[in-house]
Amino acid sequence: MNWKTIRDLIGVEMKAGRMLRGKRLIKYNTGRNRFFTYLEYGVAVAIGLAVGVLIGYFYNSAFPADIQSQFITVFANFQVSLPTLILVVTLVFTMMQQFQRSGTSFKNQAPYWLPVTWQEHTTASIFSDVLGIPLIAIAAIAPAIIAIAAFTGQLPLAIGASVAMCAAAFTAGATTEVFRILQVRFTGAVYKSSGKAAIWVRFASTLVFFVLFYIVYSYVIYGTGISNALQAVASVQSAAWFVPFVWVGVTLSYFASGMFIYGAVFLILSLLFILGLFYLCVSLNTRFGLYEPPAITVSSGVYAPKTGVLGKLGFAPVESALLRKDLKAFTRRRELISAFILPIVVIIIPIFSSFNTSTSSSSSAFPTQFGFAFTSLFPAAVMAMMLGNFMTGEEGQSIWRIYFSPISAKNYVKSKYAFMLFFAIIILPITSIVGFFIYHPALGTMFTLIAESVFVVFAVGALSLANGIKGADFNEVPRPRMIRAEWSIINLLTCGAAGLAVLAPLIPNVITDVTGIQFTFLALYQAVIISGVIAAVLTVIFYQVALSNAKELLTKAQV
């Protein structure tokens, strides 16, 4: 392998990050100093070293003997846990980076016309995956633990942990590379094209990420402290010795506890696993690296005329066509799927919280009402706000199809609003059922909040659609943004205000429930009716604004 070639390829991959950050070069610059390229890693090493020396100094001068022995145990556990922690962090970051890249028009085709071997290409690809946060973490942690270990007398373990961290990061990078190649081959999903399978893989993996994140968060916040958490990681690592990904950590653990034969066995196994993974990457790249974009067949090609259900519901053929097109867009385009993920995350949070609070049930009705409101009302409102926000900008450069097709502003707004209402309303029964099983609200409370959710969805949806049309961003480079940043903020603020305006008549009832002081001057049903009237008025006004914005949009082709 030619390491200079690998270094040059890594340089290209690093520059590819510009696509993600939207960085535009003003002048042709070839003379960038390598010192500045790697400055962040140098700074991380310096900070790590300084922190390590500081902790070591305190350990020597300020810690009493009993704390010192406690510290040594915790520090040993920390070092043993490090390879697995780095593996998880690197996997998450490299996978997320792949998702990020998939949202751009960025292509990572191997430069097959250059004298580069597949080993070099694969090595560069793995190393460049590890660049950024994972490598910065290693660059900071390794000198820190070595510095501390110099004071605590655990230098061999610290050096071993540093090497193990690098091995773990490489393992994670290689794993991501395997997933990337397979994903490209079997779904064609990483780049511009997409398929149903790719979308659901991504959807599931994003959900798994959020669930894992929340479990860790809950453990750290509600659990029994960081030292026990580290102990738990070390124990899990040992218990899962048969999983090759933890073999580096297991090796370290055996060496730390003086079991050198077991340590040597797992060291050999670790090396074999890493080598095997690397050669798997190389062989997959050799086989599929120069792929032809796969033909992703989602229909048989047999013409299937539409039966016109939407037509029976009162939609014109133009509106039905737009609705069907948008439905396909939101189920096939990865950058749009966040509109569906966020409400699900909102549901997951109270479910996990309920596990923590299940033992200490509160007698107050307010947490129940608030929890149910959060679970049922919030996802639908958020979805209405997000969909309204996206639905015009998601057209991207293909907005030209809308411009030169016989689509009136009325057709356009009606189809987009209907789409948004359909999805926001359809999620309402789902979130309400989840909320009901978690919080067991009174039936009156439940129906009141469901009615309010519908009101909010109508008003906020119309407003976000109006904002989305006004602030649409059709640029697809560096990545689809859907809406300009300033309009995103305006949308957030105005939708918040509109939601509050709809809910305002119920505020006295909420204050009464919270404080116990009689503050209400309206019966609940009266407050709900007034809230409905406010929502209806706001909906009509915002819908008209959306229509006016759409008229402006359809004659804006000159921009």
Binding site: A295, I296, V298, P305, L322, K328, Y403, F404, P406, A557
Partner: protein, 259 residues
Amino acid sequence: MSTNYANAVELKNVTKRYNELVAVNNLNLTLSQGEIFGLLGPNGSGKSTTLKMLLGLVQPEEGSVHVLGIDAKKDPVAIKKLVGYAPEAPHLYEFLTGIEFLDFIGDIYGMHTEEKRSRINEYLKALQLEGREGDMISSYSEGMKQKVALISAFLHKPKLLILDEPLNALDPRTARIVKDFLQELKQQGVTTIMSTHILEIAQAVCDRIGIMYQGKLLALGNMEELRRMASMPSSGLEDIFLKLTGTGDIKAVVEELVK
């Protein structure tokens, strides 16, 4: 919507400015029904703006634009219903399959299901897209995307075709089919406006050619008339174009590059 019209396209004293830049300057152009018209000009000469004005996408500051008897300012949607447009960049929805996209286009133009089905199948067969219609457009080659864009322009039997570089990326067989098809459509009274940089195509296909430069229509006529205007009796369109647009300093540029 008016259906009685003497001319397919009528631009009278049309001027369009983008801030200080005059994109189209006092343009007068009349096209009769069944004419194939080639609009030529260097980059930035105002061709695209003119085409956009025909579709009502851009409103002129001065003058009037009538397409198929309809005022482009008053009822652009009515014009779009009668016009088939194939832009230079196809702007297809890449997350749809070919057949889904054409189905979408058929619905947008309010075609009946049976007619839509038979026409889509005919075009897919004629342009050799059969067998790939169920694949995502994102997996298509540039030529296949261009075929889909052309089918989407032809599908609803438009009265006026506006084609921006229509033969881009097409294989010779398909290019020939498209050229012959335009001639057939001409017999049926369909007017075609074609913008292209491939001057041989314009010379071979178009009845009349207009050459735009810096927002003005420098020359308008059939090949014979253009030769007379340029005082180049036996020249091809390329030489006439270069002479009329004052961009004929090719030899000097090439000599400079050779150095």
